[in-house]
Amino acid sequence: MNNAQPQKNSPAERVQQSLKKRYRAEARFRAFGAFSVILGLAALLVLFVKIISSGIGAFQQTYIKLDLAYDESVLGISDPRDEDQLAVANFEGAIRAALLTRFPSVTARSDKRALYSMVSIAAAFELQDELRHAPDLLNKRRQYWLLADDDLDTYFKSLKAGDPYLGRVSPQQVEWITSLIEAGEVRKQFNRRFFTSGDSAEAEMAGILGALIGSLLTLAVTLVLSFPIGVGAAIYLEEYAPANKFTDFIEVNINNLAAVPSVIFGLLGLAIFLNMFGMPRSVPLVGGLVLTLMTLPTIIISSRAAIKSVPQSIRDAALGMGASKMQLILHHVLPLAMPGMLTGAIIGMAQALGETAPLLMIGMVAFIVDIPGSIDDPATVLPVQIFLWADSPERAFVERTSAAIMVLLGFLIAMNALAIWLRQHLEKRW
């Protein structure tokens, strides 16, 4: 270097000497960063693959083919058009008879019980429905696909996957199942029941409709309350609030509530809504109230951002025309800020949809079979249903838990996609 001072180690030489080490450090740092990103993505991938692979099976359910007769004498009825007779008819007897016909060698009492337990008790209700719709079937013999018990279902599915899981299935039952499989009398078909029924203690009968409706009712209450209140609060803070201690106090409260653990809101709901106001337990109304308080900060914060993004020039123009403050807000600010506010509301609702802990506190964790019809019926919600099923020992519930998670994630992804779409297509950038 022609400008270097005449010394042994010129700066330029020293720089050159340091380079190798420094570039190694650079590469290490960069690799650490890439590794972190990959770790995050890998976690996401493992999570989704695990959930999907363990839940996909629940969308199909095992059925057994049986030769079955609506035999008057077995059912103990004479007129299938009479609801009272239908209600007491012995459809289980018909199923048992069919099972015994299929496996004539079974005679011992305990063996019979094992044999009967292979068909779900739901099969009887399905037969009842069928006869109600087609009374002519009385005394006729036909082949039916009957819903199998969850233990058999689990065994059959795991057998197909090459890793047989016995669980409570006895060797004897395995024998019967094998004979049925060999005769082509076992098959899987789409599990409609999963989407059309409420919870049940029997895994093969349990569905998510009850929880889904419960979630929708709870979300409806949350949305109806939190959106107007959140927008109102945002308008006040952005357009009216004087810069004083009180306003500061409100803001501190809002920001802090956004970070308060959700289980604390459950305590609030339990102490205030249930114990003080005497509201009923387990109902979407109270769930909605608790989630409203919880999502309000999110909605207020995003609504404020939306209001802030409405340019001053539009305000000046409206005020210059002699519009009052209220007219300015209702006619100009709100319509322009609405897409941003809606985006915030959807994100808030997605948060509320996934929330579990506070709802446990207010009793939405009860075992509820009926599908709720209104906001003051006892109900549970999807995440709580997932929690309940995750706690069940039967393996068939693991599958259902994962399937319910898939449905929940489906809703969440759809909501977030909607929010993104709204942001990209409706929000004006100034």
Partner: protein, 273 residues
Amino acid sequence: MNLSPDDRAELKYKTVGEKFSETPKLKIRGLNVSYAEKQAIFDVNLDIGSNEVIAMIGPSGCGKSTFLRCINRMNDTVDSCRVEGSIQLDDMEICDDKVDVVPLRARVGMVFQKPNPFPKSIYDNVAYGPRIHGLASRRSELDGLVETSLRRAGLWDEVKDRLLQPGTSLSGGQQQRLCIARTIAVSPEVILMDEPCSSLDPIATAKIEELIAELSENFTIAIVTHSMQQAARVSRRTAYFHLGQLIEVNDTQHVFTNPDHQLTEAYITGRFG
């Protein structure tokens, strides 16, 4: 270089004056720079001599800062920026993609428009460069380097008692001199200054200008300024840029008293700026 017909039309000006130097430190040939679709520098040819102070002037947006940032490849940090042509520092080609920017920037230092001391102590600010480049092997050596640099930046007497206070606690002018000390601590050969006084008051500006005069004994300095008076005070040569083109480069005295090009004349007489 893909030039639209309009762009070509603008290339009508031919640089006038003494483009070349007998003892060049930097040789710039056929330099073109563009941001995304927009071309910012058109075919600049210029020599910068050893230990010379050269000032770049011109109306805002004329490309003088972009030109300066090419010399130590700071334009690499702008994703959309593309540079073509040749800049030679002694015998090293700067514009080559294969050139390692780290040692390059150790040889070509830069002082920015706004003082940007790091959120560290005054001492650590100056020691930052020597530390990362491994210029001092012992603490005492580093101490000496920091002191020398601060002295050469004319800041030592003001800060010697509070070296451990944050660099941001200094006044604007002191901060800028700290940034200069930080730059010379690495012993660069060339110092680029991008409007170093634009955010300073007149007294601080005067000190910096004094400092530039002293530094020119050891360093080659290229300074961008929007103040013609400043250019007149500190530089030996002055280059006038207009819409990305180098219009005229000459002895400073000559440019300000008797410009060869009508655009230069229009600028220094204040017809646009």
